[in-house]
């Protein structure tokens, strides 16, 4: 049985929402790149929609991280070591916070370029510099760009779980499942967001069946990782910390939000409906928000249960 005497770092709301938005941003980029690289030309509207979502979800991330610091104006110390005599880049591959700071920066470049590329392709931006930047996201180099961004997106969506585990906190450090769990739930949240956004872009609904099937798979993965998470905590003897009241209520809500996706409740409505898109629109109005709330609740249960 693991015994912990570490103090809580007081990572609360800012960090909770950072984890949530980083997951959405990384996950949306993964979906966008999958649709572009492996989908059909008709998947392009959904792909661009996901690139937009990835960029917009990324915007609050640095803000949340910076305001959470005790000294916000020193945010750049994450990247530059200012120790006298040792001034230079600060990178520690064994510290997920250090790797994450660099990963977020590089991913930010990818998300921004792909966002501008999507705007150019949609004829919503036509200036010279924009066309140049958008050009990066086109052709064979664009494919490479999208693939590299996909890998970075997976990292940004999942490393936050590893960051928690690489500590001496109860719950967080007693499991190795958090990175995978956060990644699976981030992908699930990104699908939910994209399904909801297809309400505003008709042709993006071409990819709905992919999204519904993807959601089912991501949520099966998420459920399996929740089970792994609990098993590892039982082994460590700290399951009662993570699953005690009031956190048990949050966990119950998380599991309930997985049921429609795993049983493809929304998907069956899509297929059963004789009027196709109308059913999609109706099914996509509420369920995505429930899934998004579930993903937020999962992170809240993990973050808060260990500290309070």
């Amino acid at each position: 049985m693991n015994e912990h005497f570490a103090g809580a770092p007081n990572w609360t709301w800012y960090i909770l929402f950072y984890f949530f938005f980083a997951g959405l941003s990384g996950g949306s980029y993964v979906l966008a790149s999958m649709l572009r690289l492996f989908g059909r030309p008709s998947d392009e509207p959904a792909s661009r929609l996901a690139y937009y979502a990835s960029f917009v979800a990324l915007l609050p991330c640095p803000v949340l991280l910076v305001v959470d610091l005790g000294r916000p104006v020193r945010f750049w110390h994450m990247l530059v070591n200012t120790t006298p005599g040792q001034v230079g880049a600060s990178f520690k591959y064994w510290s997920p916070m250090s790797v994450g700071a660099w990963g977020l920066l590089v991913f930010g470049v990818f998300a921004t370029v792909s966002f501008i590329g999507a705007l150019v392709r949609d004829d919503r931006l036509d200036s010279g510099p924009a066309r140049f930047i958008g050009g990066i996201a086109g052709g064979w180099f664009g494919a490479l760009w999208a693939f590299a961004g996909l890998l970075l997106g997976l990292f940004v969506a999942g490393y936050t779980g590893v960051l928690l585990s690489v500590s001496n906190q109860p719950v967080w450090s007693d499991t190795w499942a958090l990175g995978g769990l956060f990644l699976a739930s981030a992908l699930s949240a990104s699908v939910a967001l994209l399904v909801w956004l297809t309400r505003f872009r008709r042709l993006a609904r071409y990819s709905t069946d992919f999204l519904v099937r993807g959601e089912q798979w991501f949520q099966i993965l998420e459920l399996a990782l929740i089970v792994l998470f609990v098993v590892t905590l039982v082994q460590a003897g700290t399951a009662d910390v993570a699953l005690g009241l009031p956190w048990l209520v949050l966990w119950a809500f998380v599991v309930i939000t997985l049921i429609p996706g795993i049983t493809r409740f929304g998907g069956s409505r899509v297929r059963a409906s004789p009027s196709g898109t109308a059913a999609v629109a109706a099914g996509s109005a509420v369920l995505p928000w429930i899934v998004l709330l579930g993903v937020l609740a999962l992170r809240a249960a993990v973050i808060f249960s260990a500290q309070f």
Binding site: S42, G70, R71, F75, S90, L154, Y206
Partner: protein, 283 residues
Amino acid sequence: MVEIKPGTAYGFFTDTSVCIGCKACEVACKAWNELPGNEPVFGDGYDNTGSLDSQNWRHVSFVDNVADAAASPGQGTAWLMMSDVCKHCTHASCMEVCPTGAIIRTEFDTVFIQPDVCNGCRDCIAACPFDVIGLDKNSGVAQKCTLCYSRLQGGLEPACAKACPTQSIQFGPVIELRQTAQKRVDALHATGVSQAQLYGADDSVYGGLNAFFLLMDEPEKYNLPNAKNAVLPSRNNKFGYLTTLVTGALAVLGGLIALRRRRPPEATAAAPAAPREGRPDGE
């Protein structure tokens, strides 16, 4: 008087068997380091400091170990008092995770948080297994015992050790302190105090602690992890990333299968394939 030279490892040997809980160490620490006072904590015991944090770099913890029915004189274990402090670990968890490089090992082999480099991310607080570090609300940076770095640089021993009236806190080169500690624990064992034990004097806890202890009970009684639980945060890097990697691979694989098996909805399937360029949906 200990001669203090850069390049030598210095530390504390805190002998809890002679601690009387006077808190002179706490006062001396606050006085030298100009740490603010804090609202006293009034609980069940005599401890009104609470815990180590950004403004309490020494904390005399009181462990009430009095049995319900007194069966023996106590053998010095009825009240356990320990002047707790940063352990200045050889393998320091805080130093390991710090993303800014603010936590360094000094020329005296102590662990020091540079206040002008730290940005208050608090990763070190999550990592420290002893709950030593706190975030200072005024400066916004993490703070803890510096082993009186400024005094060492001036050839002076740390304030707490100088103030301790019972020599419960002894300062000196770590090698010499370990010999002193071994003699002391041997003497206690010889007089029948078999529960006396050294904590952190060997490398079983974080490769050895520069500030180590003679305890009168099991480490857990003093809120100290035993050797089995004294583990570094980086232990979870490998399997943490591996799980993420496997999940990512499975997710992408599942996504590819979903792309191959999916069926386009009726209405949009009838629409012509969207071109790669331009506005495909005319919205």
